[in-house]
Symmetry: C2
Subunit: 324 residues, 2 copies
């Protein structure tokens, strides 16, 4: 059992070190700038959630071995590719407390290194020698791009519905975590139902992850988050807490919420937060996140007890409880 | 035999229509903006060279059927993805005589639709059910990204060597044409030597294509090209004619060439062209292109006579002789 209050990620530190080594090793290219930008985005932090989900899923399904570290980089490279393109799109200057790659190397190089990492991820997936892995991964990549475009189309849209919000976060975030878990299961060669259960677990866990992220944008500590609060809203992303508050608010409060959301300044942030609090919208979002955590844990039920299953249970709790 | 003076592409018009239909059909997505941007970049012209190379290669290798049209879109989608990202990177406003997608929909949407098309291409490649197809394609995609980054790194570099130039154009242009031919061969299930010969043919043909493109940037008709002359140089791309002229020029002329290249205006373009002519640099580049055409034709030698082989021979000639 994992001790309460102790981060599960501590227990997996050895795996994280192995993942980090593989991330550097697989970044071999004869174009030094690619490795440089790649290292910047890959090694400037990050919890390696996606590679860990893959490794744990594969192990739980009976696939062991150090080769998993190499394959696990597929998911971090894909993730890093979307981060690089996101930063260009958001014209972001800070991520995880550090300068974004685009401010250092310019948008041009960053777009192209994103393309490189995406292509590299798919090249590495080919080395699993399983067509089904490529099927899941290329479909996930397609859906991720659709999710990012949907998010862009909804930028500044105060009329976005909860259903539309969930569609965006499922595609832009949850699909890749789902793919990491499912591909672990595919390597383990488990029956279709188990593969599907792990795919679903990854999806539910990914939704939890994003909803919590969106809550933290309102409640988090700037230093811990490594970015400004309400940064999402300032970039036009209307997320669950605000969607809920807008739906529940009195006409007067709704008008005020909309006015603040459209022209948010640091001075207005406290008023925005207190309005969102007034309608219990953060608690509502927390309940939603908790529901998806429970769904993820439900997806694990049919698997026999194992160390990996325990880790998965602890990770679901930790993703729900995280503060940054 | 193909009649002299008549475009080989006329003979393949039925195939081009089928390719265009497949390009639209495969662009099904529930995000209308993707289809809109996709149609803009895909249906605003283009000779469908890459899909045709694939289809002809597959047929010559004994793989027939209408499903080839669908697979052929893989190569056009990948190409379109790089065009979209290129236009953002070059901040281009005109391509093929029409406004670029980024000026209509903005960089953000265009970067993401590029990502979508890249992912879509790999998803479609999975439907061939051949892991080797994915291997060739994902490696080609990785190398293309490297080529684009190398090109960016060499932007404005008047000291770029011929070898460096060939490395850039091989990766950014020839590799995808090579992959189209090789993947056609893989679907045909021919022996490894034939597959390799077609891969090499595509590579040599791709180098011809790019060298001719780079010549046309100096000599072409603006209206026919659908872009301004010397557009490449204005975007910092130092290509074969200028590389040759800089290497051959007298110290005085070299200095003048460099000065013009660094601050090119439409008024200086005629002087630039006459200096390049003075050192026979356009003829030199034409000879290089002709050499690669001959290599491509040599790669076809071991294949028995067939309609497709005739078409390939004519295409190599046409790519060499094209004026836009």
């Amino acid at each position: 059992m994992v001790a309460r209050g102790k981060s599960i990620l501590k227990d997996l530190e050895k795996d994280v070190v192995a993942i980090n080594n593989a991330l550097t090793a697989n970044l071999q290219t004869h174009v030094p700038l690619i490795a440089e930008v790649g290292r910047h985005i890959l090694l400037s932090g990050g919890k390696r959630i996606r590679p860990l989900l893959f490794i744990l899923s594969a192990r739980m399904c009976g696939c062991q071995g150090n080769h998993l570290n190499g394959f696990s980089t597929i998911f971090e490279y894909l993730h890093a590719a979307t981060l690089l393109h996101d930063d260009v799109i958001d014209t972001a200057s800070v991520r995880r407390g550090a300068s974004t790659a685009n401010t250092i190397w310019g948008n041009q190089a960053v777009i192209l290194v994103g393309d490189f990492l995406l292509a590299k991820a798919l090249s590495l997936a080919v080395t699993t020698n399983k067509l089904q892995v490529l099927q899941v991964l290329s479909q996930a990549t397609t859906m991720m791009a659709e999710g990012e475009i949907l998010q862009l189309l909804h930028a500044g849209n105060l009329k976005i519905t909860e259903a539309e919000y969930f569609e965006v976060i499922t595609r832009k975030t949850a699909i890749l975590m789902s793919a990491a878990c499912q591909i672990g299961a595919i390597l383990g060669g488990v029956p279709a139902e188990s593969e599907e259960a792990l795919s679903q677990m990854g999806l539910n866990l990914g939704i939890t992850f994003q909803v919590v992220d969106d809550i933290l944008d309102y409640t988090g500590d700037e230093r811990e988050l490594g970015k400004e609060v309400c940064a999402d809203l300032r970039e036009g992303r209307v997320t669950l807490p605000l969607i809920h508050a807008l739906a529940q608010a009195s006409p007067v409060d709704r008008e005020r919420l909309a006015a603040i959301a459209q022209a948010l300044t640091p001075e207005l942030a406290p008023e925005l937060r207190s309005l969102i609090d007034k309608y219990g919208s953060l608690d509502y979002a927390r309940t939603v996140a908790r529901d998806y955590t429970l769904k993820a844990q439900e997806n694990l039920k049919t698997f026999p007890a194992s160390l990996e299953k325990t880790y998965f249970g602890a990770i679901t709790e930790e993703l729900l409880a995280r503060t940054h």
